[in-house]
Amino acid sequence: MKAFLMHKDRDFDFERELPPNEQALAQDLALSTLFESMALGDRFMIEIAKKAVLSSLSNPDSIAYRQNILKDCLKNPSIIKEIYDLAEESIEKRQKQWWATRYPSSIMFSAREALKMFVGQLKRLRTVAVEHADKFDSEGFARFFSMLISELDDKYFDRIEEYLKEMKFPKGVLMSAQLGKGNKAENFVLHKARETKQSWADRVFRKKPPVYSFHLSARDEIGAKALSDLLDRGLNLVANALAQSTDHILSFFQMLRTELAFYVGCINLNEQLIEKKKAWCFPVPAAAGQRKSSFHGLYDVSLALTATQKVVGNDVNADQKNLVIITGANQGGKSTFLRSVGQAQLMMQAGMFVPAKSFSSEVCNGVFTHYRREEDANMKSGKLDEELARMSGIVANLTQNSMLLFNESFSATYEKEGSEIARQITMALVDMGIRVFFVTHLYDFAHDLYEKKMGNAIFLRAERKVDGTRTFRLMEGEPLQTSYGEDLYYNILTSLNRTPT
């Protein structure tokens, strides 16, 4: 029995290692705000949100599988939360239970108790399935509910309850063994103390096989200890099988909780966006290599969740492009834009809705970010040195169709040198089929690429009105030699407006 709500054919891999650039991604794309909004303070849910968003799906079908399940969840939030709570409760009850591990006989006792509890919870889960299955349309939920209904029928529950009775061994414990090393007993196997199948005539006329009986005297304490040791040897395998079975049921509930945690997180996020009257939509994923990237009203979800003022969305059509160079005014919304691109890509590849009016993009093999960092605190390396070392680490993990977001990279040196480095790296990446978004003030670099008139490149520029005010909107446009830093200087003198950076 598998929940299979995250993948069509496998469990959600909670243990899977996050991509090595996980920290950089979270930091550069302001993902922690997103995770926190999904989890509403629940630590477990934060972990799941993080894993789900950062370990991307790589093909449009598996994205669609999740999208459909998520649509069901957004339609039936209270039922989802009920199942989630039931799973959580089952796990808690099991954790609170006293669990003996010392002797097989006591392990058996503990396992019996756990099983009794789980049977109750499984019956409740089945009831939910029977009552609500018809409200769900997705393939994933259809499979999940019909599995519960067919696998957990009354006959099955009856059989388990019969075991629970038998395992108290009212007829005594029957085991077999054979002679092992030094003629000591080994290979103990437990058997059901069955009814004799002999006919009446057999019982009367057949010679009875010999049986040797022993009875311990009440004072024989050593004998009693030895006998209970023997009993434990006999019970060992069955106690193990029973205890492992309860563990399997526990892991079923754990997996159910894990997978639903993601959807509950999505429900939470969705509710907040609706409350803030923000647009959202289910994105249209395209297969890798289709060079699809266009959107309307794409905004930075983390900023929208925390900012009090208006958040501006951007429209871009970069279909058939794999190089996007963003230049323009300081404080003009370039970083915010870059963040929103990365966020939406990750959310899409997690099967989520995205913060946009419409969004279509090809799936990529990993999102990477290369941002300017603070000065290296431990003085180990110079800044450009640090940047290049980091770049080399990224390159080691890139594959075709990866996506790479640069933010003011390689500017920790003279413009000419920085430009040359940026140019060589960028051209190599683009030629290798990697999608590159590059926010830069390196005019030499941006201008040079512009002059090349490449068919697969698009140039965006942060808008600045003639009076110097920013719209935080990006327009297509040729790189300019100034980024209007002067404006900023005056701006800071005249007002202390908080603006996104």
Partner: protein, 511 residues
């Protein structure tokens, strides 16, 4: 049908060697440390006497070299070692059989002992015929084993053992426990309950879970409940157990004498080869010396003191190797030079090499020719012995006198800083007299001394010196070189320090 010995061409010469004491020079040469290290972990075989008996015949030495060379084949070594492990297991089983009170228990262990013994022999015979060793020793063993395993007693014993063991293993039985009562009867093909439980819960299977199976401690003895059960099983299967009794009584002494002797003697080789392996792993070299008493030309390149090397490897320090070469009329190496420069080590090395060669073992070094001596004498400085009621000089003289009395032209003499407790003039006079004698004997000798004059005593003497770094004489190189120096040796020692010699550079550049 007889098997001579894997160690000796004529073992009858050495039958009384079991109680042999170490030779007098053992501690002087630190050979006690070497042999202790070599034989460590093999106490049960009492190997030391083998190492206390140098051979005095080139053919006997060659006999061992042949075996050693066979054992250089890793497969053969591994298989031959496996045989000895099985023999050891057999001895443990027999000891266990004796230690257990209950008859049926002891008999079970006894069966195991026979089984592992037969298996050991069958495997060894197979391995020898497959690996085709070339030495006279292993060939004789191979012949002996082939005859032995074809003997009627051996084959029928093995078959019977296997049959009884199989019967015992098949004697499955049931125990029903209820309260303080338990019943024992034959097993009647009941189903495994744990399989049924697993099947019922199969649908929940989610990958790996914890193993709750208890690992019960195991010991050979039984408690009285187990004894009750075993005796009941014996009554349930009376034929099997009466066969067992009969078989054990009939096969009390199943171990072949010659094979037991072989198992002990082969340990001599294992012990030395294992010790060698530890040193060669650290980059040190061993070689088969040419051992002869036809010529007194002796040499060894890249030799070292085994005891010191063992210690330095454990400490993780590097080891300095040295060469010597005596040819034509050269007989006596006079070693001089600063203290703590490796002079005594050099003298010990010279003697150790000869001793090991006489044991038929490979020796430290990359190429070596050594002399097959009749006796080896050492004179190392001793603590003053108060009970002897005589002075140190007198003691020195008495010991030297004893040596000169016994030494022959085929002896090797090691003199280490003698006559130190007198004036230099006296020491020179006494030393010259002794050296005259040794020269007269034509014995091989290494003489460590602070008396430079001795180095130019006669055409038979060769002067060697411990070398220091010229810029800083406090730094020892532990190199002992022939002096008078040709001027290059100092330069070489500096180059060596920086690992810039021809050899070092080659080694560093090799991948």
């Amino acid at each position: 049908m007889s098997f001579p010995s894997i160690l000796f061409v004529r073992p009858e010469k050495y039958v009384n060697d079991q109680e042999l004491d170490p030779p007098d020079f053992f501690t002087d040469l630190n050979l006690d440390q070497v042999i202790a290290a070599v034989t460590a972990d093999r106490d049960e075989y009492n190997l030391k006497p083998f190492f206390y008996r140098p051979l005095n015949n080139a053919d006997e030495i060659e006999y061992r070299h042949e075996v050693m060379r066979d054992l250089e084949g890793e497969i053969l070594l591994e298989r031959v070692k496996l045989f000895s492990e099985k023999m050891r297991a057999m001895r443990e089983y027999l000891a266990q059989a004796d230690a257990l009170h209950h008859k049926y228990q002891g008999e079970a262990w006894f069966l195991d002992a026979i089984e592992v013994y037969c298996d050991a022999i069958n495997c060894l015979a197979d391995d020898l015929s497959r690996e085709a060793p070339k030495s006279r020793g292993f060939k004789a063993l191979q012949k002996y084993l082939d005859d032995y395993i074809r003997s009627a007693g051996f084959t029928s014993r093995l078959e019977e053992t296997k049959k009884i063991k199989a019967d015992l293993a098949a004697a499955r039985y049931c125990v029903l426990i209820k309260g303080h009562t338990f019943k024992v009867r034959k097993y009647e093909s009941e189903d495994d309950y744990s399989v049924e439980v697993e099947q019922t819960f199969e649908k929940f299977k989610q990958g790996d879970v914890k193993d709750y199976k208890l690992k019960f401690p195991w010991w050979p003895e039984m408690n009285h409940i187990e004894v009750n059960i075993l005796e009941s099983v014996a009554k349930l299967y009376p034929d099997i157990f009466s066969n067992l009794d009969k078989f054990c009584a009939e096969n009390r002494n199943f171990v072949d004498e010659a094979i037991a002797v072989y198992d002990r003697e082969i340990q001599f080789y294992f012990a030395f080869l294992d010790h060698m392996a530890m040193l060669t792993q650290a980059g040190l070299k061993f070689c088969y010396p040419c051992v002869t008493n036809d010529s007194k030309e002796v040499y060894d390149y890249d030799g070292y003191d085994l005891a010191l090397a063992h210690r330095l490897i454990r400490e993780g320090s590097s080891i300095v190797c040295n060469d010597f070469h005596l040819k034509d009329e050269e007989r006596i190496i006079v070693v001089t030079g600063p203290n703590q420069g490796g002079k005594t080590t050099f003298a010990r090395t010279f003697a150790q090499l000869h001793y090991l060669a006489a044991l038929g073992c490979p020796v430290p070094g990359r190429e070596s020719q050594l002399f097959l001596f009749d006796r080896l004498f050492t004179h190392f400085e001793r603590e003053e012995d108060a009970s002897m009621m005589r002075g140190k000089l007198q003691d020195d003289l008495i010991r030297v006198h004893d040596i000169l009395n016994m030494a022959t032209s085929n002896s090797i003499i090691i003199m280490n800083e003698i006559f130190t407790s007198t004036t230099l003039q006296d020491a020179i006079v006494l030393s010259r007299k002794v050296m005259e004698k040794i020269t007269e004997f034509d014995s091989l000798c290494v003489w460590v001394t602070f008396i430079h004059e001795l180095a130019f005593f006669s055409p038979q003497t060769v002067s060697m010196m411990s070398v220091v770094v010229p810029e800083n004489p406090a730094v020892r190189t532990f190199k002992i070189l022939r002096k008078p120096a040709d001027g290059l040796s100092f330069a070489m020692s500096i180059a060596e320090k920086y690992q810039l010699t021809y050899k070092s550079i080659k080694e560093r550049i090799q991948l």
